[in-house]
Symmetry: C2
Subunit: 213 residues, 2 copies
């Protein structure tokens, strides 16, 4: 994520890049075990500054984690956008599937980050407006795709926002329950995960109700 295109790593962070260095170091620790393994003193040590230096850039530990979460919401949103672009615009159902795949795989690859982003245990979201805005980026994409599907007559009429909410909820549930190992043995291993995603999307499209022929 850091951009040092000149090739030479900075000799010292004490020159204005500290904020990003702290985010980077914090991200590594968060990825290993969540907020419990991220202690500010260790973050400072990794960035090569004293333990009180971070307070110049973040009011407290929570604020650092909020900043990291914010970056990760951007990253998730970009992943989803990339997934959509791989599918032609008229393939709305395929796009929903691609989004689901991207979302769940982001979670599987970054379980600790995902937990921190959505647990609500560490960061009081109300206090961080940018964070809250970032967390909404992905939702807008779901709504766009749903709306396009409705225009094309592929998806049922109705409030696109609410349908997007249902779509997201299903995705989110699948992702979180998989990383908490609650879907065992139905979503074990990479193939199991993909099967679960496919079953979910299948069900979302057709419903579980048996149609009388």
């Amino acid at each position: 994520m850091r951009r040092h295109e000149d090739g030479q790593r900075p000799k010292s962070y004490h020159h204005g890049d500290l904020r990003n260095a702290l985010i980077q170091a914090g991200l590594e620790l968060l990825s290993e075990g969540g907020a419990a393994t991220l202690d500010l003193r260790k973050v400072a040590r990794r960035a090569g500054v004293s333990h009180s230096a971070p307070y110049r850039h973040f009011t407290d530990k929570q604020a650092l984690i909020a900043a990291i979460n914010e970056e990760e919401y951007y990253r998730l949103s970009e992943r989803i956008q990339a997934a959509r672009r791989e599918v032609p615009d008229d393939g709305v159902i395929a796009q929903l599937h691609a989004i689901a795949h991207a979302y769940v795989h982001f979670a599987v690859e970054n379980p600790w980050l995902m937990r921190e982003m959505f647990s609500g245990l560490t960061v009081r979201r109300e206090a961080f407006a940018d964070l809250h805005a970032a967390s909404k980026l992905a939702f807008k994409q779901y709504e766009e795709v749903i709306r396009r599907g409705q225009e094309q007559g592929i998806i049922v009429e109705g409030f696109s926002g609410a349908l997007a909410g249902v779509f997201w909820s299903l995705l989110h549930g699948v992702a979180m329950l998989i990383i908490e190992d609650q879907m065992h043995p139905y979503a074990d291993g990479p193939e199991g995960v993909d099967l679960m995603v496919r079953t979910s999307m299948q069900t979302l499209y057709n419903g579980i109700g048996r149609k009388i022929l």
Copy 2:
């Protein structure tokens, strides 16, 4: 939850009830703000013992929270069972709806407990076999109802476990995203929550795919 049907509250907890007293005091703190607001010394103080007494009953803070989570899984499972019983056995769709309602409302009423139970941030579930078993109780109920629906020809054929997983994922996603305030403005207030639950169940049954008449 504690049972003191004799009417007289125990004069002191130092007589074998300490374990439950700690769980009870811990539950109160957990409900206020999760593991961050539960400190073991405060728990001990509330139970009227020294700060090292809890270690006689729980190996560490995590073990106490695991025990609380376990009790809450039972409580959630019981709530779901109660919801099912309010609906006649042939009303499979109505039962799924009742389960969804109960699940989401449990979450809305106990957001901090729900976060702790499912975040994976505080307790390493692998280390607590009973906890893991307790977390599976509700799932079995989903599967039962789905299977009955299949027998009655109301629900599509297929692996009932996977379908139950899809059902749970949808429920869980709705519940968690609502308590994290991510469904705003589609699930605000009690009516908003109920609307979201109804839309979810509607969609689960019929699917979002537009059926050609």
